[in-house]
């Protein structure tokens, strides 16, 4: 079978995507379609004194103008953060109130205060401009420094000093003792730059209220439509779950930014009921920059201690995380449980302590973005290792090897139990692929051309397959993180798989079909994957955290186990054979060692005609399963980046990029390679180009592609991608997840390479030509001063 597991099957969904036949939320057009435009604050912090809607309402074609007082008056609840984090002193996190339309105060530029519903999108936008909002501006805290300063403006009344929580993980005394006992301590101050997610398709929502049925339908750009329905129903009181259908049709990329429930969906649903019209809103790119949840934004100081043999004796981390003006849905978990438990990296470190303070600022909220917490951890750990190696005059690969975890499972002091891996072998593979042995000659040759050549490593680990529900619950998660699946064998033998995972670029319609094709030995064309509709799929927790393969596919496998058991019972009965003698292959159920068989579709038909089933068996052939993982999965990687820097201009070229990954079992190597390419591109974007900038007044200065640099093809090298397979023992397929690795592993490899080239460890992302040039100058003057 050439379409089963391990084959580079071409993506089934690409035919419609590449011929313009994808159906996205904005393509939905209802008979009574009206359009929404939001009136947004131009101020980062202000009191809303009054909203004058007269001029807007007077315009022909304007249906209504609605505000936050009406919204809260109708009982629509505040937006919430679904992961409760407690401070070290036991106090709960300080979650400030967040209404979908601001009532008293606006807290970031772009905060919505009113919505115009009109007959056309253009008219709605023009009318939104005619809404007069009277603001009383307040002092602004747009940066961590400003928000944490004495006497800083208070953004939420219930968060004194703008502090959301002061949290810690690990054993502080042990980490201190480890550092004290160290022969050498490496200290670094790092920032993890703030990023804008920029999926190709902007966010959109189409909400319709059916007054006859008192029922809502929401089309939305979501990575997790069931979670959206649950939250909209249980917390925002928009409608009870059985009166709300959420559909996430084709979605053009998410990278985390479409996990959350945003004010716009809530407002559109409510407005559809208020106006009795279908209400559509689609973000434009400017609005996306202003209102899509941002990623990263950490400031960290860390110390790592080493003994005389280069073994790590202790690691202590102090991080401040900017969560923006409000706590988005999963924001609290990103700098805590998705970050600190990764501090052990690929290394056997006994003494770790990580302290994290989360802080409000007058900026758009910050939440998960491709990797979510794990890129921040990998960046820190891998820059520490490389810097330490330089300070210890050791080969950075050798320092890593001396500290690698050697046996599995491995329990770290920060919650995680690593499942499987072979870190030394993975690094061997990467070094060979990168021809590290030939690097000195390449460096010398580059020097002749006046270029500084550098090489940097990143040997990182991630925790994917979110997540064991019981463990997540004990750490504060508001939901379970299992996944569900239904496998329907139709009377003609074709198969539909209903999954709670959601595909928005990952290629699930192909890879999920491949595992079914493998199991029942039928062509992938006979399998279709149904996802993204709460009326079709029983339930699901959606796609993020590289969980679709380890969790979503595992649910499908469990359901297939049940289907197979029933298929064998039906066939054994019809063929008068023992179930144990049956094999499923070549499109049939066969009795081993005989020519007796039932064709696959004959089994399907038998199940539905029910003319000849074993006594007591229910007709039909469809099975449902829920899979709750027993552990995270732990993909690991060894990346090696090689750069050439022009010392006169700081212009840096990535001349080689090697990515050796261990994702466990690989379902479709072509899709996995694509995921690595995309992830590495985003990682290089973070390392060298991307940076969200607010001015001191909280005005977004990087509000368009003129000022926010995304990586383009010409900025990126050809990647050398390779794989090692150590299957995860914690799920039936042995998969680990591959969606985030590139974005997690690439930034430290790039910065380690550039700092190697320029001989100065003090360089923050993004390493633009200007920043590199300054670091070269600073390095020279530091040396001159010594």
């Amino acid at each position: 079978m050439t379409t089963g597991i391990g084959n580079p099957v071409k993506r089934k969904e690409d035919r419609r995507f590449t011929t313009g036949r994808g159906r996205y939320t904005d393509d939905v057009r209802n008979d009574n379609q009206a359009y929404a435009a939001f009136v947004r604050s131009p101020h980062a912090h202000a009191r809303v004194k009054s909203i004058d809607t007269k001029a807007a309402l007077a315009m022909e074609g304007v249906i209504d103008v609605l505000n936050g007082k009406q919204l809260t008056g109708d009982g629509i609840g505040n937006l919430i953060c679904g992961w409760a984090i407690s401070s070290k002193d036991g106090s709960p996190m300080n979650m400030g109130a967040w209404s979908a339309l601001a009532t008293e105060k606006v807290r970031y530029v772009g905060d919505a205060v009113a919505v115009v519903i009109a007959e056309t999108q253009a008219l709605a936008r023009i009318a939104a401009e005619a809404v007069e909002v009277d603001y009383e501006t307040l002092p602004v805290a747009a940066s961590l420094t400003a928000a944490m300063a004495k006497g800083a403006p208070q953004i939420h009344d219930n968060a004194p000093g703008n502090l959301i929580y002061d949290w810690g993980l690990g054993d502080e005394a042990a980490a201190d003792a480890g550092l004290k006992a160290a022969k050498h301590v490496t200290t670094l101050d790092l920032t993890n730059n703030r990023l804008s997610p920029n999926p190709m398709e902007p966010r959109s929502a189409v909400a319709s209220y059916d007054a006859a049925e008192e029922h809502y339908t929401l089309y939305t750009t979501s990575q997790n439509p069931h979670v959206a329905r649950l939250v909209l129903s249980a917390f925002y009181n928009v409608a009870p779950e059985h009166k709300l259908r959420v559909i996430a049709p084709d979605v053009g990329g998410g990278f985390g930014s479409k996990i959350y429930i945003y004010p716009e969906e809530i407002t559109c649903l409510w407005a559809s009921m208020k106006t009795n019209r279908s209400v559509k809103w689609t973000s434009d790119r400017s609005e996306a920059f202003l209102t899509d949840m941002h990623g990263r934004d950490h400031v960290t100081t860390a110390q790592m201690g080493f003994d005389e043999n280069g073994k790590i004796t202790g690691f202590k981390v102090d991080t401040i995380a900017n969560l923006g003006a409000y706590m988005s849905l999963f924001s609290s978990s990103v700098p805590t449980y998705l970050y600190a438990p990764l501090m052990s990296g690929q290394y056997d470190i006994q003494n770790i302590y990580c302290n994290v303070r989360a802080v409000y600022t007058n900026t758009v909220p910050v939440d998960a973005y491709r990797g979510a917490g794990r890129p921040e951890a990998a960046y820190l750990v891998e820059r520490m290792m490389e810097t330490a190696a330089r300070e210890l005059n050791m080969d950075p690969a050798e320092l890593r090897r001396r500290n690698f975890v050697q046996s599995f499972p491995h329990q770290t002091p920060v919650l995680m139990a690593y499942d499987a891996g072979d870190f030394p072998k993975l690094l061997d593979m990467a070094q060979k692929s990168a021809d590290v042995a030939g690097f000195p000659a390449r460096k010398a040759e580059a020097a002749k051309r006046g270029k500084l050549r550098g090489l940097g490593y990143s040997t990182f680990i991630e925790a994917c397959g979110l997540a064991p529900s019981k463990a997540a619950g004990s750490l504060g998660a508001g939901v379970g993180l299992w996944e569900s699946a239904e496998v329907r064998v139709n009377p003609v033998g074709s198969i539909e798989v209903l999954t709670g995972s959601h595909s928005h670029g990952q290629g699930h319609e192909t890879t999920f079909a491949q595992i079914v094709a493998e199991r029942f030995d039928i062509p992938v064309e006979n399998v279709s994957i149904v996802h993204g509709d709460t009326d079709k799929v029983q339930f699901g927790m959606g796609t993020y955290g590289s969980r679709s393969a380890p969790v979503g596919m595992s649910a499908v496998v469990k359901a297939m186990d049940k289907v197979e058991a029933k298929v064998k019972k039906i066939a054994a009965h019809a063929l008068e054979a023992s179930e144990d003698d049956l094999v499923i292959e070549g499109g049939a159920v066969k009795v081993k060692g005989t020519d007796k068989q039932m064709l696959w579709h004959e089994v399907g038909l038998a199940a539905y005609t029910a003319h000849n089933l074993p006594d007591g068996m229910e007709p039909g052939l469809k099975e449902t399963a829920f899979f709750d993982p027993v552990n995270f999965s732990f993909p690991s990687g060894a990346f090696i980046c090689e750069v050439e820097v022009d010392p006169d201009t700081g212009v840096t070229e990535i001349v080689q990029f090697v990515a050796a990954d261990d994702f466990g079992t690989i379902i479709n190597p072509m899709i996995v390679e694509g995921q690595v390419h995309g992830g590495v591109a985003q990682g290089i974007g973070q390392a060298m180009m991307e940076q969200v900038v607010y001015d001191d007044n909280g005005q977004l200065l990087t509000g368009s592609y003129m000022d926010y640099t995304m990586p383009r093809a010409a900025d990126l090298p050809f990647y050398k991608v390779s794989h090692q397979v150590t299957p995860s023992p914690n799920n039936p397929l042995g998969v680990k997840g591959c969606g985030e690795a590139g974005a997690i592993g690439a930034p430290p490899a790039v910065i380690n390479a550039i700092t190697d080239a320029i001989g100065n460890n003090h360089l923050n992302m993004p390493a633009t030509a200007h920043a590199v040039w300054q670091a070269i100058r600073a390095g020279k003057s530091a040396m001159a001063a010594e």
Binding site: P42, V109, A130, Q699
Partner: protein, 152 residues
């Protein structure tokens, strides 16, 4: 954003001062000014259309004269709202010094923009502001020359 400049105007200080306090003169000289209405001796309502980079908007706002030390100096400050384009606010300290028959006008201005103006136009604000200031003083100079034909 800070902006400073100096102009030599071929008119006596008193005349320059009066022109700087004359709503009609100001309206004619401020680039894109559609309305300027005096609401008191020191307050005016203004409507100005501006284009900064890709953003074009009409700003409505109040202008106020403070720190008046006639005929030597004042501070002109204002705040304008441009709807979805955002807002602009700023102030300028204007000082008039006599130099023979001429007047030396110096100004020291600061401005702040928000909303779409900042999001899309921030790179262009400094150069646009400089251009607008130059246009204003060119217009102002020309206007004063017109109103003093005896000097011609």
């Amino acid at each position: 954003m800070e902006l400073t400049g100096e102009y030599r105007i071929a008119a006596p200080r008193q005349q320059v001062w009066e022109a700087l306090n004359d709503a009609e003169v100001l309206q004619a000289c401020i680039p894109g000014c559609q309305e300027l209405e005096k609401t008191s001796d020191t307050e005016m309502l203004a409507k100005v259309t501006l284009k900064i980079g890709p953003v074009k908007a009409t700003f409505g706002g109040e202008v106020e004269l403070v720190n008046i030390d006639a005929p030597k100096s004042y501070t002109i400050q204002g705040e304008g709202k441009g709807g979805i384009a955002g807002f602009a606010k700023g102030s300028a300290d204007v000082v008039l010094a006599e130099d023979g028959d001429d007047t030396i006008l110096t100004y020291n201005a600061s401005a702040e923009v928000g909303g779409k103006l900042a999001q899309l136009g921030n790179r262009l604000i400094q150069s646009t502001a400089r251009k607008l200031a130059a246009a204003f003083f060119d217009n102002f100079h020309e206007r004063l020359n017109q109103s003093t034909p005896e000097d011609a």
